[in-house]
Symmetry: C2
């Protein structure tokens, strides 16, 4: 896979915020946060991380690639699960240090390794309800993670 | 403002992923990424960062607080601009290291210091169009940043 996408040097705030050149900023760890939403429902599916290679591959192939912080490897989302995320639209933010992908998901439409559709399957009570137990927003898993991933190590880190 | 919200220790993957206890994980810099969307339109407004204090204040007050990485201070969103973000729902992800806030925004509904509604006002062409110029998704600013922020330093860092 060629990775020909060019990034501009970051030379001024006006350039970064107001121009049409791509001048992304990765963090000290070489990673940029990426918000991924279901293009149809608008639901936030996950918050992933990309290094420059994952960013380029995502834009060039039109399929979401991330960098797995748990496994420290490039990660073509769906390579194991089949739940490939196809880009409908990619956006970058004002200071070009965060991405938003609007995607269509193959298969069951799920994106969460725990088996839920969205990784954000629990709500935190707030205001007068602050401190109460989290509530599950999704009432069932869309797939069985043991059947899908088998003995693969769980990416959650304590 | 009291900050009484209790966090649980992270003791097992099952606890973190499947239970109803709040056991957030902040990064090495003490910060957690937070996705903020417009509760009505579903549009992603911004990607912010929270330290433990900002997290607690957000949940307890029902108004979004962030930690400004540029200014290295707690930041009550809207304190200067009036564009306060009122929580409709707060969610946490599977491994409890990312937040999603669904908010209602006071005033013009904008959230971006550049003047646009969303910080994600530019799209990145992908697939066969990869490498082409970014395109503006919003065609006008909802406010004049100079009039609103005056001489305050721009938070964008090169």
């Amino acid at each position: 896979m060629s990775t020909d996408l060019q990034f501009q040097a970051r030379e001024s705030i006006e350039q970064v915020e107001e121009c049409t050149g791509l001048a992304p900023k990765f963090g000290p760890d070489g990673l940029m946060p990426c918000i991924t939403t279901d293009a149809e429902s608008g639901e936030v599916l996950m918050l992933g991380w990309m290094n420059a290679e994952a960013f380029r591959l995502t834009i060039e192939t039109g399929e979401a690639h991330y960098f797995s912080r748990a496994r420290q490897v490039l990660w073509h989302k769906g390579a194991t699960s089949g739940l490939v995320q196809k880009l409908v639209e990619a956006r970058i933010d004002d200071d070009q240090d965060a991405l938003w992908l609007r995607v269509a998901v193959d298969g069951s439409g799920a994106s969460c390794h725990v088996g839920y559709r969205s990784c954000f399957y629990r709500a935190i009570p707030h205001g007068p309800q602050a401190g109460q137990a989290l509530s599950f927003v999704e009432d069932h898993k869309t797939f069985d993670p043991v059947a899908m991933y088998g003995d693969a190590p769980n990416p959650t880190q304590l």
